[in-house]
């Protein structure tokens, strides 16, 4: 699990300033903001636009295009299940169904207690040890029922 700072405009401005000198900085800044705060606060969008001399619409457009960037904080733990073909071939459908049933939520949602966010991911490049998953940045392959249950228990702690 990752620990994030809570949003603070001054800290946000620092992060933007630190990264705005690079070529094509928008994604670099959005990544840096999300790494610090766990999501990209809406208040940061006009600040990024201002720093890069872009319109708010352009930054908003970039922000919303990419699956990675979050509008609000995720659950305490994020469990990503690979739903692409290689994992489908190796029993990934059953793994996803089991995780959804155990957590009582569908992929793409967060549990009511905000402990676990369950997300689909399209390929972790662990296709020879499928099905695979990522829990808070840690990779796990060869998922079977027991390993899924253990992962979920860990995420729920």
């Amino acid at each position: 699990m990752s620990v994030y700072e809570s949003w603070d405009a001054q800290r946000g401005a620092e992060i933007i300033a630190e990264n705005s000198h690079v070529e094509g900085a928008t994604l670099v800044i959005l990544h840096a903001l999300q790494e610090a705060f766990g999501y990209v606060p809406e208040a940061a969008i006009p600040m990024v636009a201002e720093a890069l001399n872009l319109s708010r619409a352009e930054v908003h457009g970039t922000f919303t295009f990419y699956h990675d960037f979050r509008r609000k904080p995720a659950g305490k733990h994020v469990l990503k299940l690979c739903r692409a073909e290689a994992c489908q071939a190796a029993g990934g459908d059953a793994v996803a169904a089991r995780a959804e049933a155990k957590l009582g939520i569908k992929l793409g949602n967060t549990t009511a207690d905000e402990r676990v966010t369950l997300e689909p991911i399209y390929c972790l490049g662990l296709c020879a040890t499928a099905p695979s998953a990522m829990l808070d940045g840690r990779v796990i392959g060869m998922l079977d029922e027991a390993r899924v249950d253990a992962l979920i228990a860990e995420a729920q702690q």
């Binding site: 070529e23 900085a25 296709c127 040890t129």
Partner: protein
């Protein structure tokens, strides 16, 4: 007494099945036995069913054990210390048939060297290509790349020599080298493996490209799903700068070249080169219309060489005097070797680098050993989410760009995903459309809308609703997408859909003839 050298991968695929835990257990076991061991974290050899694979240096070569789980570590260490037998002992690594029958040119060092050590890279023929390139003219470097017959390994198979030549001949104050490491195709992991296991070979290939075309700056665009590769490339770039291989004077020459890693943000379409360039510039990953080609107007409007990781990784061997040798491998217009990736429901999955020309059947049955579940192979998808599904009847197809195209398929980035007989091909066809709908950049209508209509129509077919008429709609949609889309996402989604329909018609509900027969 010198310590025992033990090699365990830090490759994400090995870590995913417990390599880190095995390392900890080995260290603990060694401490208990007062044995001095030195653990070197390498890349993976690519024999994933044996991961975590533990190798030990012996006078005869490295001896492999695998798969060594945490609980096996102590007994494996005992076997290593006594040079005794063990159930997981695989013998000399280089003699393992699966590895021995490969032709490893690009992956020659992967799994052998310490990817953090530039000295280890140099000790294994690293930077020989660059050293030679620095003595050559731009034209001579381009001639070598052309002679090798290398075609872009990202999927499109465009001749690399021609691409580089175009950039070299375009004059501009600034040119760029961009490495496409947005390896989003399911079933592919070769880019990830080489970045994690031999990152300097990618850096060397990009540096040679920079010198050949007169570019001083390069970017490696890596997908965010690959944190280990990002870390490995960043560490290698820093090491390259410290050792003078990157920076204002590459190896003391007049050539300047430096690299930067940029991280994607979870958009599959950014593997398409113009979309990737847009993303690098900080915008939505919307596909650009071509022309202008990136070679003329690429990153920030400047002439840009954009190639896949494996294309760059093939270059050092070629420039180290291997252009002709490289071209001697392969068949037809597909020259050299291809790092093929066996994935999905396969018994022996992993990285199999071999000359073009091996048949699909050899790959699946011989090399892959059939399915992991032990059930019959029913379909294989070659080339990622945009690749066709082939039935056993097409297993005689040789691995070759043209041979696959002739059978309405593609080799793409050479990922091969195996499915057993429990697969529902109508479901797979639906997924292909669904994936296209999720990942479409939205610029062109056939892809953006066609994929959504495709999902809806296949749902109707699966519900048994007017099957024949709806199949005709799917076929029509596929034609529109194939010929009307701006890039390969919309343009190639018809491959998995139509191949599923053509070769596995029975999964789409009863055919009219059998309906009539039943009446």
């Amino acid at each position: 007494m010198s310590s025992l050298r033990i090699f365990i991968p830090r490759d994400a695929g090995a870590i995913a099945v417990g390599a880190d835990e095995t390392v900890a257990a080995l260290e603990q076991a060694a401490a208990k036995r007062n044995a001095t061991i030195e653990i070197v974290r390498t890349g993976s050899r690519g024999l994933y069913w044996l991961e975590p694979m533990v190798e030990v240096a012996t006078p005869k070569g490295r001896v492999a054990f695998g798969p060594v789980k945490e609980a096996d570590a102590a007994s494996v260490l005992d076997a290593i210390l006594k040079d005794g037998p063990h159930a997981l002992r695989q013998g000399l690594t280089e003699e393992i048939p699966w590895l021995k029958r490969q032709t490893r040119l690009t992956f020659a060092r992967c799994g052998i060297i310490d990817p953090r050590s530039i000295d280890d890279y140099r000790a294994h023929d690293g930077y020989k290509g660059l050293e030679r390139a620095l003595t050559l003219t731009s034209d001579a470097i381009l001639a070598d790349v052309t002679t090798s017959g290398l075609r872009g390994r990202g999927g499109a198979g465009f001749p690399t020599g021609i691409k580089w030549k175009t950039v070299a001949q375009t004059s501009a104050g600034q040119k760029y080298i961009v490495c496409n490491a947005d390896e989003g195709d399911s079933g592919t992991f070769a880019d990830r493996m080489i970045m994690e296991g031999d990152p300097f070979v990618v850096i060397e290939g990009m540096t040679i490209a920079g010198i050949a075309v007169g570019a001083t700056k390069g970017y490696v665009y890596i997908r965010s799903e690959y944190p280990h590769a990002i870390e490995a490339m960043n560490a290698a770039i820093a090491a390259g700068r410290r050792a003078g291989y990157l920076g204002s004077g590459v190896c003391g020459s007049k050539h300047a070249f430096d690299l930067e890693v940029r991280v994607g943000a979870g958009a599959y379409v950014c593997g398409e080169e113009t979309s990737l360039l847009e993303s690098l510039e900080g915008r939505r990953g919307i596909v650009r219309a071509k022309p202008p080609l990136p070679a003329h107007k690429g990153l920030f409007g400047k002439p840009t060489v954009i190639n896949n990781v494996l294309s760059f990784a093939a270059i050092p061997f070629i420039l180290a005097g291997g252009a002709k040798a490289y071209a001697d491998y392969g068949m037809g217009r597909s020259r050299g070797t291809m790092p093929i990736q066996l994935a999905g429901n396969v018994k022996y999955g992993g990285l199999f680098e071999t000359a073009f020309g091996i048949t699909l059947g050899e790959l699946i049955d011989n090399v892959g050993g059939g399915t992991r579940t032990g059930r019959p192979v029913r379909a294989v998808q070659v080339g990622g989410p945009l690749g066709a599904y082939f039935p056993r009847a097409l297993f005689d197809t040789p691995f070759d760009y043209e041979a696959f195209a002739a059978r309405d398929g593609l080799i793409g980035h050479a990922g091969v995903v195996v499915f057993d007989d429990t697969v529902d091909m109508a479901k797979q066809a639906r997924f292909a459309m669904e994936f296209c709908a999720i990942e479409s950049c939205g610029k062109c209508t056939p892809c953006r809308i066609g994929s959504i209509r495709g999902v809806e129509t296949i749902d109707r077919i699966r519900a048994g609703e007017r099957v024949e008429q709806n199949l005709a709609v799917v076929e029509d949609l596929c034609n529109t997408m194939k010929f009307g889309s701006l890039c390969a996402l919309g343009g190639f989604t018809p491959y998995p859909v139509m191949s599923a329909l053509t070769h596995f018609r029975e999964d789409f509900g009863p055919a009219p003839t059998s309906l009539q027969a039943a009446e």
